[in-house]
Amino acid sequence: MTHPANSSKKTSKGGWIFLLSGFVLALIVGWVIFPMVLYSKQSQPMNFNHLLHLDPEKVYGIEGDTRAEQCLYCHAFYEDGTFAGIPKVEKCIECHDDPENPLGELPEEMEFLVKYVAEEKEIPWLVYSEQPDCVYFSHIAHVKMGKLDCQTCHGDHDKTEKLPVYQENRLTGYSILIWGKNIAGYKKNTWDRMKMDDCAECHTKKGHEENNACFVCHK
């Protein structure tokens, strides 16, 4: 069977524009719009100034020779070695004991005293580095035995004055920090991502393969 070849030529020539536009459009959707849709943004119930609390000039009592020890002052271990994570209000009350008179003049402190200390309520913090239920992570093994610095995984959180916006993956319910801010999963620093491969990478680097049993990280 035969048919005029030129006709087919014409249309197919013009068609390349469509091919290209489709291509470009898809790239924009995938790289720009998709991430915006995927993550929800929520702000913390109130701000907390890490930098201020860790500044010996301004705040007394938060001791610790190393950076890690300073963090541990509030983010402490229980007696059984489990990790308290974000401190409960009772911890804050050790210093901010009197709802009537604040220790500083920041509005956040006032808000904190009125809303939580006086009301005896816990602060519904959103946890940036919350791992899913299937993950087991022993802080004491890494911080005390492994001598790991906090920022290896958490970055320079202690240097921040404002708590960043909390972003949650609408589909998985994970905090954005687990996959990492970079949608392509590319990371520069150790703390940019907290997926299994990142744990494994470090274990391998440090020669801790003997601790690569599944149940070391999964419960």
Binding site: W16, F18, L19, G22, F23, V24, C134, W179
Partner: protein, 821 residues
């Protein structure tokens, strides 16, 4: 350049290529997979600070020490305590599943309830505690005003001597009603036989851990008898380390229960013939002179023939046994071989520390007094009383008595009236209370003599072996109040529910677990904050008394229940005992500290705080200090011939004739035998041809059959030849099955004079031919989908007779017939 079909295809193709080169598809694939890894509907347990809270399990009177693991405020696991004398380490499956009872909202009452639907439907409205207490208080005070306080009755399922039961009894007394009734328990039987043989009023104390030959007459050692945690621990000790000489365990039981199967020797005698067997063994022991003559000659009465003050000659135990209980005679009764009886008796008598123990399964129900006496006699014969590995004689726990109750006119007149259940009357001189009589009286009389009935820690509608009679009775009683925390069958019949806390939410005491050989007092503490609007019944009683009237109030001068606990515990301080336990010095080993000296507190308050912390007070088992002055019988000796029985019979005979007296007391023998342990063939007027078989309920350690519901966890441990779907199975011997043309898995109706139930048939060589064994603990009509409608409850078809002397119900002798469906 129109968007022709072809161009559109190109556009899509380009789009596809672009998408593939963007993170979208890949990230999405990953995220969807992660979504399946934490589906929103899969629970995600919150974490926090882990703590362990020590307390005492109160699900049965066993009183095991438990350590509850908590995360922040949630309780997430129950474990046994190694620093606790009763159960060093483990606990039973029921205790292990306790959290499902605490947290299962659908089987609990969220607060006080008033009935709106018909009785038994379980339709209630929640009311305030104020309303609830007022309704109840008014009702009681009205009855008092009307001068009929005895119309108030109480059924108490709390452990005997526990502070809760003392409170309930006190409430009734102060109101002026004699009608305080307890649910059945083997302890009743133990008390009577101890009283009759030894004249002691202390609990039965079996020194199991130190025995080397345990002859158990029907005790479900592995089915939950006594304090399960303690007994199973003892089982471990008996069988410790293969090779080294172990204790020998002999089980007398008609069915291959766990105990019978696991025992070194299984004596499959016919049910209800324990007394005969025991006396048969006595016969052999006496005949071969294997008994402890020192004990018999110096510390017992009625062994040899004797002459009473009035010059009458009496037959002694020895002659009676030699005359009536030869191995051959006993063999006929029990169905055993004479030689076996002889060998058994010899093994027993020759053991270093033999002990004969008596029971009936879990001992949630009564036993037979003559049986119990006959078994205990064996311990006397070998002189193994108050000796290591024997039966110890202890005084009751040294708890202080509560102050006397102020008496008013109503009080006197009310208590003057006879008990409805006739307990303590001439006919039933030894019984403390007879719930079976109470039930019958109510059913028989046109108008219920009871107007208001209070039910504490009990589910008699389900647990009583009375063929459903108690439920019938409740339908006639105008006003029923349940204090149960659970939506059980009895509370469904209630007009008012005043829910108690569960055992993990309240402080309550455990007084001397059944069979334990040393004085023990356990104290549970609230492990979690009460989840719902419930109240400790102890506090409720105090509050109630305030609202009834001043006289009743005056009987409860404490501001709360702990006040009462402390008031009684004062006695413990005086007696002095240990409040901490070191498992290197087991409580059953006679060690350095004698009777609980060397305790580590100086003031009562200090002791109390320590008891609250540790949950225990105990005195290590006492050493053997002779037999002198041990027995409190009329003539200060161990009585083979019970003078108390003699007096009771004579007194009753005085009122009527000797014959009728014996007949009413259910005694078939005459003469001196009446006062001595003997075998009473269970009489029955049932038509044998219509009901050729017998049904015996059997109990399991892994299924709750008492007033506490089973945690769903337990159903994992039930075999599918016991429960399959909603069908529970009756165990029958293959021979019997073939006789009736039945086979494995058949559905049958089990008919008795009292009713009928449907069950599946499970053939088992462990079942005695001619007997149908039904599991206890199934067939709930209340609670939730986990328990409701699963299997049948044998109690519904039990047609009980009366036990001689005590008048307790004989529930192990129901005649039945099998009909295939």
């Amino acid at each position: 350049m129109e968007l022709s079909r072809r161009n559109f295809i190109k556009f899509v193709a380009g789009g596809a290529a672009g998408t593939a080169l963007s993170p979208l598809p890949w990230k999405l694939t990953d995220d969807i997979a992660i979504w399946t890894q934490n589906w929103p509907w899969v629970p995600d347990p919150s974490t926090g600070e882990f703590t362990n809270v020590n307390s005492v399990c109160n699900l049965c009177p066993g009183g095991c020490g438990i350590s509850v693991r908590k995360v922040d405020t949630r309780a997430v696991k129950i474990d046994g305590r190694t620093d606790y004398p009763v159960n060093p380490g483990g606990i039973c499956p029921l205790g292990m599943g306790g959290l499902q009872l605490l947290y299962n909202k659908t089987i609990r009452y969220p607060g006080p309830m008033r009935r709106i639907g018909p009785k038994g439907k379980g339709e209630f409205v929640m009311i305030t505690w104020d309303e609830a207490l007022d309704i109840l208080a008014k009702r009681i005070s009205n009855l008092r005003k009307k001068g009929m306080p005895e119309a108030v009755a109480a059924v108490d399922g709390n452990q005997r001597m526990s502070t809760m039961s003392v409170m309930v009894e006190r409430l009734l007394t102060s109101v002026g009603s004699p009608n305080y009734v307890t649910t059945p328990s083997i302890d009743d039987t133990y008390l009577i036989s101890n009283l009759l043989l030894q004249g002691t009023d202390g609990p039965m104390s079996y020194d199991l851990e130190n025995a080397d030959y345990v002859l158990s007459f029907g005790c479900g050692l592995l089915e939950g008898w006594g304090a399960p945690g303690r007994v199973m621990n003892a089982w471990g000790l008996w069988h410790d380390s293969a090779g080294k000489t172990r204790a020998k365990i002999v089980q007398v039981e008609s069915r291959a229960s766990n105990t019978a199967s696991k025992a070194d020797r299984w004596v499959a005698s016919r049910p209800g013939t324990d007394a005969a067997l025991a006396l048969g063994l006595a016969h052999v022991i006496i005949k071969n002179g294997l008994y402890n003559s020192r004990f018999i000659n110096n510390f017992s009465f009625g062994f040899e023939n004797w002459t009473s003050a009035d010059g009458k000659d009496h037959v002694g135990f020895k002659s009676m046994v030699l005359d009536k209980y030869s191995p051959d005679q006993v063999a006929k009764i029990t169905g055993l071989n004479p030689e076996d009886i002889v060998s058994l008796a010899k093994d027993f008598a020759r053991a270093k520390a033999p002990i004969a123990i008596y029971g009936k399964g879990k001992d949630d129900l009564d036993g037979g007094v003559y049986e119990c006496m006959a078994v205990h006699i064996l311990n006397a014969l070998v002189g193994n009383i108050n000796k290591p590995g024997g039966v110890l004689i202890n005084d009751p726990l040294p708890l202080s008595r509560l102050p006397e109750i102020k008496q008013d006119a109503i009080f006197k007149q009310g208590l003057g009236k006879p008990r409805i259940d006739q307990a303590g009357s001439l006919q039933y001189p030894f019984a403390g209370s007879l719930i079976n009589n109470l039930t019958n009286k109510i059913i028989k009389s046109p108008k219920s003599p009871v107007d208001t009935i209070l039910i504490f820690s009990a589910n008699p509608v389900y647990t009583l072996p009375d063929g459903g009679a108690f439920k019938e009775a409740l339908e006639k009683i105008p006003f029923v109040i349940s204090f149960s925390p659970f939506r059980d069958e009895t509370s469904y019949m209630a007009d008012l529910v005043l829910p108690d806390h569960t055992y993990l939410e309240k402080m309550v005491d455990v007084v001397w677990p059944t069979g334990l050989q040393y004085p023990f007092y356990g104290l549970s503490k609230p492990v979690v904050e009460p989840l719902y609007n419930t109240r400790n019944s102890g506090d409720v009683i105090i509050e109630l008394s305030k609202r009834i009237d001043s006289t009743v109030q005056s009987a409860f001068p404490w501001e709360n229940f702990e006040g009462v606990l402390k008031a009684r515990a004062k006695g413990l301080f005086k007696a002095g005992g240990l409040v901490t336990y070191d498992n290197m010095n087991p409580a059953w080993e006679r060690k350095k500290y004698g009777n609980g000296s060397k305790h580590n507190y100086t003031s009562f308050e200090e002791m109390w705080t320590k008891i609250k912390a540790g949950g225990l007070w105990y005195q290590p088992v006492h050493g053997f200090d002779g037999w002198e002055g041990l027995f409190k019988t009329p003539d200060r000796k161990f009585e083979f011939f019970s003078k108390r029985v003699q007096l009771a019979v004579d007194e009753y005979a005085g009122k009527t004739t000797y014959k009728t007296a014996l007949k009413n007391m259910g005694i078939t023998v005459t003469g001196d035998q009446v006062c001595m342990p003997h075998y009473e063939a269970v009489s029955s007027d049932v038509n044998m041809s219509a009901y050729p078989l017998r049904m015996m309920p059997y109990e399991m350690i892994n299924l709750a059959s008492g007033w506490i519901p089973s945690p769903p966890f337990l159903y994992k441990t039930i075999f599918d030849n016991q429960l399959k779907g909603d069908l529970s199975f009756a165990a029958v011997n293959p021979k019997t099955a073939t006789e009736y043309g039945l086979k494995q898995g058949d559905r049958v109706i089990i008919k008795s004079p009292a009713g009928e139930v449907e069950a599946g048939l499970s053939l088992s060589d462990g079942a005695m031919p001619g007997i149908v064994y039904l599991p206890l603990g199934f067939g709930h009509t209340a609670y939730d989908e986990f328990l409701r409608g699963k299997g049948v409850n044998p109690n519904e078809i039990i047609d009980a007779e009366k036990d001689p002397l005590s008048g307790h119900s004989v529930w192990w002798n129901t005649h039945v017939n099998l009909v295939r469906i």
